[in-house]
Amino acid sequence: MSGAAGPGRAPLPCAARAAAALQLPGGAEAARPGVAVIDLRFPRGGAADVHEIVFKNFYTAFLSVRVQRAGPPGPRRWVTCLRDHRLMPSPHTEEGSQDYFSLRRHQMLCDMEQVTALRFILRQPSPAWLHFSIEELQVFPPAQKSPQKDFPSWLSQLTPPEQPASPHGELPDPEKVSTEVQQMWVLTEVIRARQAAARIGRFDVDGCYDVNLLSYT
């Protein structure tokens, strides 16, 4: 399974307990309560800064996340950092049911530093689905600054609106001219370095297209 790790990002090691459905006290037969909880702790009671949580949905409609943070000794409190985040726009239908999601720091309601435990509260109010859960849960720390080897960052951003033209009669700023020319040079170099995406169009191998029967794998 492809990891979501970009340059300089590795998921934090953690142990996630399987989803436990909510049980009502005194309930005899196994009801389907539509609420499940997944607890996640870091190994050896450690704490870490959490920047991003990535997971694959499996028919969960709403997600709440609560965290426990390392702090003064005493009873630890659970703090809600995400409340009823909607994963499936229409819980009776398939939309969003098996999609991948990212929860980022800026979506959280509280600080995510020195987190010791995470609790994911899954809700699926529709009785149409037999099981629901979230899968492939990964937690990422804040990314280290790494040099962009891929595109220069300005290539993948929208250009800001044009600045008004400088008044006539002034000599052009040599600094500005040299940076402009340098940028153009970088652009041409990047383009030249890339292989052309031209299609060759041949479907045979070495002039031969004598094929076997079609394979099933």
Binding site: H131, M184, I191, Q195, L214
Partner: protein, 526 residues
């Protein structure tokens, strides 16, 4: 779900990657270099001056059209953690169903190959190549013996597969409940209801002029038609794809349709495109494929028997035979739930360097496939342009009509949309047809799979396909199917068997598409 900023930069990066190395890119580079000689380009404002030059000379517009085309064709980028099959189809059980369906097709093709002892592909001997080259423009006069060939599958076989599609995580109980759909499709996909459709198709409303309604003989042309033609000519002069797409939502004037569709699909018929088509033609001459016989058989069975399309028989061969050999079609498999069939060169089984796709474009034609091409023959007479238009229409729209996917324009969603619309707005009719064993989808499925080609009169069909291009969605096919049932509801309430229901709906050639759609969406009491 991606947050907006990273989604945008991913999209920009993807489009830049795709346009790099394209002929448009090298043309832009050449233009920029040529412009350096012009006096108005100054070194201190090099970037802005070149950008201004490209804007005034119309090249920026061409780039905009290319970007717009990419945005329309490719879906929004997936989450970085998602594997490639997730972009093809997010739901695992649908991927599995598509895989089993494809396996059935491959088995069928393989067994045809072994039974008839005809190789899947063989090189033509030189004499046969010369003969075919001479006969290229009149392949319809050929009468090969096709009696032993049979189409690999027909739409009704595909309908059986869709009927049996189930989500293993869905409560498909035996007891009738709100979860069991009353129609044939049992998967809980999200489909739009009439208020949402009214909003999406707002340009089809009662207060907006339409070609197909407001250009009829009784309406003086000053009210709508003349102005609409004038706007269309202006759009063509501007060469703006996005504007053209918005314009055709109200219909295309017949004289402008060919150019407008080419503008929307971003087809310009450059010399390199003509050369590419000629190369495909030489591939047809060189190699004889088994699928060629399937194409011949399909054309002879469908288009040649049709009153409107039999004159285009030769064009159909010229397009479809080349289509089978076009490896650029393989690109659409990144966003289609289907997978191209694979094979190995004889004697090199299992060696990856000798793995090839068969047919080269990965698409195995089924019964009625040639009807996707036939209506386009009315618009385009130059084979290479006709070919490019068809190829673009296929990789944008038609592939969704014969593969299992959860996409809103996929055939499964269209079937569910049709059944839901009918059930919600004509419940008595739906119940009656169900009781007599005539599930409505059994009748309308073949219309939707062929995008109504061969069922409607040609001018009406082209008005319908105007809207498919304008809205970049096939949902209008399901709406039209429901509208047809609504129109013939009185007759249908009196039938007592599936055969009689089919007879009521056998002939759609007199129907006017746009009034039906307008009444169903905007003038029906809900």
């Amino acid at each position: 779900m991606l947050d907006p900023d990273s989604g945008l930069s991913l999209t920009i990066a993807r489009i830049v990657r795709r346009l790099q190395g394209s002929s448009l890119h090298s043309q832009l580079e050449r233009q920029a270099r040529v412009s350096l000689h012009k006096p108005e380009i100054k070194l201190e404002s090099l970037k802005e001056d070149i950008k201004d030059f490209l804007k005034t000379s119309g090249w920026e517009k061409k780039l905009q059209n290319a970007v717009y085309s990419e945005l329309n064709v490719f879906p929004s980028p997936c989450h970085p953690a998602a594997p490639p099959e997730h972009m093809k189809e997010p739901l695992a059980y649908m991927r599995k169903a598509q895989g089993s369906w494809e396996k059935r097709i491959l088995k069928s093709l393989n067994s045809m190959c072994t039974e008839l002892s005809i190789p899947l592909a063989q090189k033509r001997p030189a004499s046969e190549q010369k003969e075919l080259l001479n006969k290229w423009n009149e392949m319809g006069t050929d009468e090969p013996d096709l009696s032993l060939f049979r189409p690999v599958y027909a739409p009704k076989d595909f309908l059986e597969v869709l009927m049996n599609l189930r989500n293993p995580n869905y409560e498909n109980g035996e007891q009738p409940s709100f979860r069991n759909h009353l129609g044939l499709i049992q998967v809980p996909l999200k489909v739009k209801d009439i208020p949402e459709l009214k909003e999406d198709f707002s340009e089809l409303g009662l207060n907006t002029g339409q070609l197909g309604i407001d250009d009829s003989a009784q309406v003086p042309p000053e009210f709508f038609e003349n102005e609409h033609v004038r706007v269309g000519q202006k759009v063509l002069a501007e060469q703006d794809s996005a504007a053209a797409q918005q314009y055709v939502r109200q219909g295309c004037p017949t004289a402008l349709r060919a150019d407008l569709w080419a503008l929307i699909l971003n087809i310009s018929n450059q010399p390199e495109d003509i050369l590419y088509y000629e190369q495909l033609k030489s591939n047809v001459i060189q190699y004889d494929l088994l699928v060629d016989s399937l194409i011949y058989k399909d054309v002879k069975l469908t288009a040649s028997n049709d009153d409107y399309y039999f004159v285009f028989e030769d064009y159909l061969y010229q397009v479809l035979l080349c289509f089978s050999r076009d490896t650029s079609v393989l690109e659409h498999f990144t966003y289609s739930s289907a997978t191209p069939p694979k094979s190995y060169i004889r004697g090199k089984l299992g060696i990856e360097e000798y793995a090839v796709f068969y047919p080269p474009n990965g698409v195995i034609p089924f019964h009625g496939f040639s009807m996707y091409v036939a209506p386009l023959c009315f618009l385009y007479h130059e084979p290479s342009k006709l070919y490019q238009i068809f190829r673009e229409m296929y990789v944008r729209f038609f592939f969704r009509l014969h593969s299992i996917s959860s996409h809103p324009s996929g055939i499964v969603s269209l079937c569910l949309l049709f059944e839901t619309l009918l059930q919600t707005h004509l419940p008595q009719l739906f119940y009656h047809l169900r009781e007599i064993g005539a599930q409505p989808l059994r009748i309308s499925f073949k219309w939707m799979v062929r995008a109504f080609s061969g069922y409607l009169a040609t001018d009406q069909l082209l008005l319908l396909w105007d809207r498919i291009l304008g809205y970049n969605s096939l949902e209008i096919l399901a709406v039209l199917a429901a509208a047809v049932f609504a129109f013939r509801a009185v007759n249908l309430m009196e039938v007592t068997s599936l055969a009689a229901a089919e007879a009521v709906l056998a002939d759609l050639s007199t129907l006017k598409v746009m009034p039906l759609l307008q009444i169903f969406l905007f003038a029906t009491v809900t």
